[in-house]
């Protein structure tokens, strides 16, 4: 078969496999996205009917929203807050979830119970989670400061202290997500064939050598996935901020999506919020493209 014919056959074969997903892509993703691009160039308040006649003619303001956002202070401040979260969250979360995945990968009796235990935070809603974390971090009665007191450290005011509010959110977020990413990494660990380990044991490799030359390299595809998804998600940090601190104290935990939501649904400046979102998108997209390029350096698919 000629190369060209082979390519055409491949494409024909691929078509039915892609079709359902791509139909969904168009209807439920691309069309609304394109609409939102146009909306970001209007002064729409988020209330007026989108389908009213002459909508764009009436509300089009070009790149005014973008200019306003980029020339103000708020965007950069909020971006900084978000990055502060990411820099603290990602390493902690990775360490916790890898640890949990390794812990749960053993075929012991009762491991199933532990797997459920660790997943429960993922299942609880942020309503319950936020309430309990507010108590944990309570300056006088919470266990966090009580534990610190055992080491003669006076704990800060956590959620009411502008310096410590974001670290508090990081802790709560790691608690909630470690089961989720742990489960994903676990399935990655499970996909590593036992035969590799057996061969290594025959060769006399110790536990650490097994980990560094078998587990880690073969886990990289899943690790890459976790890293990309975790990064995309952390840029979109939202529910815990809304429920635990509402952007406070004094704007210390105002993050990108919190601003987007408030502008869109509280201050009724939806066009502005859309522009904000697209700027956020550009940032995330750039970072993810970078990650994709770099994956050749460390991700092993075989």
């Amino acid at each position: 078969m000629t190369k060209k014919k082979k390519a055409i056959m491949e494409t024909l074969h691929a078509f039915p496999f892609l079709l359902p997903s791509v139909i969904g892509l168009f209807i439920f993703c691309l069309i609304p996205l394109v609409i939102s691009v146009f909306l970001s160039m209007t002064d729409w308040n988020g209330l007026e009917k989108l389908t009213s006649s002459g909508f764009f003619a009436k509300h089009f303001i070009g790149l005014e929203n973008y200019i306003k956002i980029l020339s103000g202070k708020e965007f950069y401040q909020v971006l900084l807050n978000t990055c502060y979260f990411i820099v603290l969250y990602i390493p902690l979360m990775l360490a916790a979830s890898i640890g949990i995945a390794m812990l749960l990968n053993s075929p012991r009796k009762g491991i199933g119970l532990y797997r459920i235990l660790y997943y429960i935070p993922v299942l609880t809603s942020w309503v319950a989670g936020a309430l309990i974390w507010r108590w944990v971090l309570s300056p006088q009665y919470g266990i966090m400061n009580n534990i610190l007191a055992m080491f003669h450290i006076t704990g800060p005011n956590w959620l009411q202290d502008a310096k410590w509010a974001m670290p508090a959110i990081v802790m709560a977020s790691v608690w909630k997500d470690m089961g989720f990413f742990g489960l994903i990494l676990l399935s990655g660990l499970q996909g590593i064939s036992k035969s590799y380990y057996e061969a290594a044991k025959v060769d006399g490799a110790g536990k650490w050598k097994q980990f560094s030359s078998i587990t880690l390299p073969l886990l990289t595809p899943t690790l890459f996935f976790v890293l990309v998804v975790a990064l995309i998600n952390s840029f979109q940090l939202f529910p815990q901020v809304m429920i635990m601190t509402d952007g406070g104290p004094n704007g210390a935990t105002q993050v990108m999506v919190e601003r987007i939501y408030n502008y869109g649904f509280r201050y009724f400046k939806m066009g502005y919020a859309a522009a904000f979102s697209w700027l956020l998108f550009i940032i995330i997209f750039a970072l993810t493209s970078l990650q994709l390029k770099m994956q050749k350096g460390w991700v092993h698919y075989d």
Binding site: F17, I27, L33, S125, W135, S193, L218, Y261
Partner: protein, 274 residues
């Protein structure tokens, strides 16, 4: 022997300690669900209710058509999960193993779709759904499962690790792509698919804002929507809310337990035999 026993004990201590930390909010939820309205938010926290009562649970069952809400949630979540697995695995197969033009670009679009906050696409998507006429139908909350970039991405990562030799061998044996998909790709992705079943089911089951906007008709009310009616303007009945939330977590845990069967260590099922 003793070394093994010691390791075992150590394991259980560590695992239990971490587990307890993970579970503290859960204990609070359970404790609160057995409290009566007045005793809810005292400090220091009362872990064991002084006067435990089942009133929260009886209220949950009497407050709204619980059975109907569970049925709706189940129907929606199960359909959603099945469609996600099917549509996403088929697409992932193409991205991971087939060389076609535009595949790279299309995959980047999939990834990019995860980077826009849903708050912004909520209203445009609503308008689109309205134009198609899907508002107030089960379809409005189920059809979006056709496109799940997260699932596609995860499956692509797993499928890429499947050695091409297996596929070559199957092709030589005369298998068509669909058979390769069915007999090689899917079985070898079992742990990933099991994970996706759990996470997708959970996402769909717990989804709140989308069904709220799409399904205003009472008959379609899902469980999270029904539970959120407890949220009043000035006060929320936390004990009833916690009781309902706990009950709501049960199906997901059941799915999780069921999915555990597929978490076998070192899976190479069906691959070698082709």
């Amino acid at each position: 022997m003793i070394k093994n026993k010691a390791k075992s004990v150590l394991f259980h201590i560590v695992a239990l300690a971490v587990g307890m930390i993970a579970m503290i909010p859960f204990f609070w939820m359970v404790s609160t669900s057995f409290k009566s309205q007045g005793a809810l938010m005292t400090l220091p926290i009362q872990w064991i209710p002084s006067a435990p009562t089942l009133e929260a649970y009886t209220r949950v069952f009497s407050m709204f058509p619980f059975a109907r809400a569970i049925f709706n949630s189940l129907f929606i979540a199960v359909s959603y999960t099945l469609i996600t697995i099917l549509a996403s695995s088929m697409a992932a197969f193409v991205f991971a193993k087939m060389q076609i033009p535009f595949a790279n670009g299309l995959f980047k679009v999939y990834l990019a779709s995860m980077m826009i906050p849903t708050q912004i696409t909520l209203i445009p998507l609503f308008v689109v759904m309205n134009k198609i006429g899907l508002i107030n139908t089960y379809g409005s909350v189920i059809f979006p499962s056709l496109f799940r970039a997260f699932a596609v991405f995860m499956l692509v990562q797993t499928m890429k690790t499947i050695p091409n030799d297996f596929l070559e061998a199957a092709r030589i044996d005369g298998a068509n792509p669909f058979q390769i998909y069915r007999k090689i790709m899917m079985p070898m992705c079992a742990p990933t698919i099991a994970t996706l079943c759990v996470t997708t089911f959970m996402d769909s089951w717990n989804d709140y804002l989308w069904p709220l906007v799409m399904l205003s008709n009472k008959n379609f009310m899902t469980l999270p929507l029904a539970l959120n009616q407890l949220n009043g303007q000035y006060a929320t009945q936390y004990n009833v809310l916690m009781a309902g939330s706990l009950l709501s977590m049960l199906p997901i845990i059941i799915v999780y337990i069921f999915a555990q069967r597929y978490f076998k260590s070192g899976l190479m099922a069906g691959g070698i035999k082709g």
